[in-house]
């Protein structure tokens, strides 16, 4: 149940939020590790990013700690299937746009994305994919004149 109160710490929303925030800050600390700090009067490229990353890690720790101590609500169920399918359809579009052109990339995006809605309706999917691809080609390349490749060369 979304938003239900939980006692087990590893189900608590804030614990995970804190861990995520800390991870992002930690990643930035590591990435900015080789950048020069400089001094306050003449800051190096690493000065601001490293301070910010430190603050992010600290804030994440506080969020996580409060989640552990005060308890909280669970994040509810995750829509893993729609998430994976939606992301896959965008990645497919990105992978295909320069290789096979706008029309086929659009058809791929729409076809893959439709899987996320559950309950397959193949005829509707094909019709929607073709209609949207035609509309996109007409609008963006025909009307707006954007320099897209339409078809596989």
């Amino acid at each position: 149940m979304p938003g239900a109160a939980v006692r087990v710490f590893w189900k608590q929303q804030d614990v995970w939020a804190g861990l995520l925030i800390m991870a992002l800050g930690g990643l930035a600390l590591w990435l900015a590790g080789n950048l020069a700090m400089g001094q306050a009067v003449r800051m190096g490229p690493g000065y601001v990013p490293r301070i910010l990353a430190g603050v992010v890690v600290a804030l994440g720790a506080v969020v996580c700690g409060r989640g552990l101590v005060a308890g909280g609500v669970s994040a509810g169920s995750w829509a893993l299937r729609p998430l994976a399918v939606i992301l896959a359809s965008i990645v497919a579009f990105g992978f295909l746009i320069e290789r096979l052109g706008l029309v086929l990339a659009s058809i791929a995006l729409v076809t893959v994305a439709r899987v996320a809605a559950g309950r397959e309706r193949p005829v509707e999917t094909v019709a929607l994919a073709m209609a949207l691809a035609a509309f996109a080609a007409a609008t963006f390349v025909g009307l707006l004149g954007l320099p897209f490749k339409l078809w596989p060369a």
């Binding site: 995520l20 925030i21 992978f95 659009s106 729409v110 994305a113 320099p147």
Partner: protein
């Protein structure tokens, strides 16, 4: 008088056939997308941004502004007819608007919403014209420390707006600031945190970030929440409000407009806060407060005029100071950057065509929206019935093409997917993405001004408190922060006492 000359000049720019057309197109597209459930003004602007690429800057901005207030109007239509706020500020409109629709009075609710918004839009346009000039003069005295302080105030303001945990909102701001530092360091030319990806040399694009966090994440959330159920809009029979309706609404519209215009200018203010404040005031003033929440037309009138006025006056800090008071304005700054315009006092003084043309176009756009919304309401109702399973692939396709079209960059498309993932995770963990976006936009500006200020002061941080304007702004930010934190503490205390 200068003001009249300026406004006349604005109208001469805004009334050229091309600009009238862009204004109309923006308002129409904004309404169209705003009506569709599940896409707010932010995602709408991000999605339609590529359409403005080919336009001259003035036309592009007129159209973007039109998309913004068009989406606002569209949001109120869904709020009234299906009880779904098309965007956050329409939450308040749902309260009484949907109740009116269920009592068969959807028509008058829509009409009052449109007319109230129009009146509010007219007043807000005049407010923008009046306030901008003095603010510009003030802003010209601003130097690095003042800008830094002002942006700090803006960020603190966005915490006030965020729902839920203040702590998490602050963390989101800092993550945004951090994301803003990715890319080439302006002073040394060194690459920062780019993973060696040369597409990131200019920093992370704000369009893939905004579309991922707001557009894509929202689609996943909708699909997860068993979205895709067809909605059943209430019937619209008769549009004309009765004499009684008008009598009740007129003072509410006027008060709502005043409250909205004032709150919209404040950093962190804007449409939602304005609508809530105006609604509360009406409820307090009403002879019979129990009518509210059961279809009181004053509730719709006050909320809608306040959110429209607030939405419009939030352009003031963005245009005159270059500081976005909310996430939508942050997106507008990004959009202006794409067209080679840096908002700030320079725009008002050196590009009067752009500034006054945009202000005048807002009035024209509001007039157009009344025409687009009321007689054509039947079309919008039909659009509401389009099932989500057909809509979301279309939204995604336009997001993907939109992002790709910016720089013909596949990396940016992939970044959008990545930020979509981040956005969904943040959504599930109850972290607001709006402060993150604001931090991201302000980050590079703040760093630049911080470094400049420290260079001027020879590394003395006291420069921020010894200069009066900067000290005043920071004091205001501190006060605001205390105000947000105190009720949070009190609530926590109340909870402990209960246990």
């Amino acid at each position: 008088m200068d003001l009249l000359v300026n406004i006349a000049h604005g109208f001469s720019v805004a009334l050229t056939p091309a600009n009238v057309f862009f204004c109309f197109l923006g308002a129409l597209l904004g309404t169209l997308i705003g009506v569709l459930p599940g896409i707010g003004p932010l995602a709408t602007i991000a999605m339609l941004l590529p359409i403005t690429f080919a336009l001259p800057p003035v036309g592009a901005l007129i159209m973007l502004a039109g998309i913004y207030y068009g989406a606002q109007y569209g949001g109120s239509t869904t709020a009234i007819l299906v009880n779904i706020p098309g965007e956050s500020s329409a939450v308040v409109t749902c309260l009484d608007g949907y109740q009116m629709a269920r009592q068969g009075r959807a028509g008058p609710a829509l009409a009052i919403a449109a007319l109230g918004s129009f009146l509010a839009g007219c007043v807000a346009t005049v407010v923008i014209a009046l306030v901008s000039e003095p603010l510009t003069v003030l802003a010209q005295r601003f130097q690095a420390p003042e800008y830094f302080a002002l942006m700090t105030l803006g960020l603190v303001g966005s915490v006030v707006l965020a729902k839920g945990s203040v702590l998490k909102a602050v963390a989101m701001i800092f993550i945004g600031l951090l994301l803003g530092t990715v890319g080439t360091d302006v002073n040394t030319g060194q690459m920062r945190m780019t993973f060696g990806i040369h597409e990131l040399a200019d920093g992370i694009g704000f369009v893939p970030l905004a579309m991922g966090l707001f557009g894509i994440a929202e689609i996943v959330a909708n699909l997860g929440a068993a979205g895709g159920q067809p909605v059943r809009p209430e019937r619209v029979d008769r549009l004309m409000p009765s004499r009684e309706d008008l009598r009740r609404s007129t003072p509410a519209v006027l008060r709502g407009t005043a409250i909205g215009s004032a709150l919209g200018v404040l950093p962190g203010g804007g449409a939602l806060v304005a609508a809530f404040a105006a609604y509360t005031v009406e409820k307090k003033l009403a002879a019979d407060p129990s009518r509210f929440g059961r279809g009181a037309i004053e509730g719709v009138a006050a909320a809608e005029s306040a959110n429209n006025a607030g939405a419009q006056t939030s352009f003031i800090p963005m245009l005159t100071l270059g500081i976005p008071p909310n996430a939508v304005m942050a997106l507008m700054i990004g959009a202006m950057a794409i067209h080679g315009i840096t908002p700030g006092p320079e725009v008002v003084t050196k590009q009067p065509d752009l500034f006054w043309g945009m202000v005048a176009s807002m009035w024209i756009g509001n007039l157009m929206l009344v025409v687009i919304n009321l007689p054509l309401i039947g079309i919008w109702v039909r659009l509401l019935r389009v099932p989500y399973r057909l809509l979301f692939p279309a939204i995604m396709l336009f997001c993907a093409i939109g992002v790709y079209s910016l720089n013909n960059s596949v990396v940016e498309v992939m970044l959008m997917a990545l930020f979509g993932l981040l956005g969904y995770v943040l959504h599930k963990l109850d972290c607001e993405p709006a402060p993150l976006l604001l931090g991201f936009i302000l980050g590079p500006l703040m760093e630049e001004n911080l470094r400049r200020a420290m260079l001027i002061s020879r590394g003395d941080p006291l420069v921020f408190v010894t200069r009066p304007i900067s000290a005043g702004l920071l004091l205001l930010a501190a006060l605001l922060l205390v105000l947000v934190i105190v009720p949070a503490i009190q609530r926590k205390r109340a909870e402990t006492f209960v246990e």
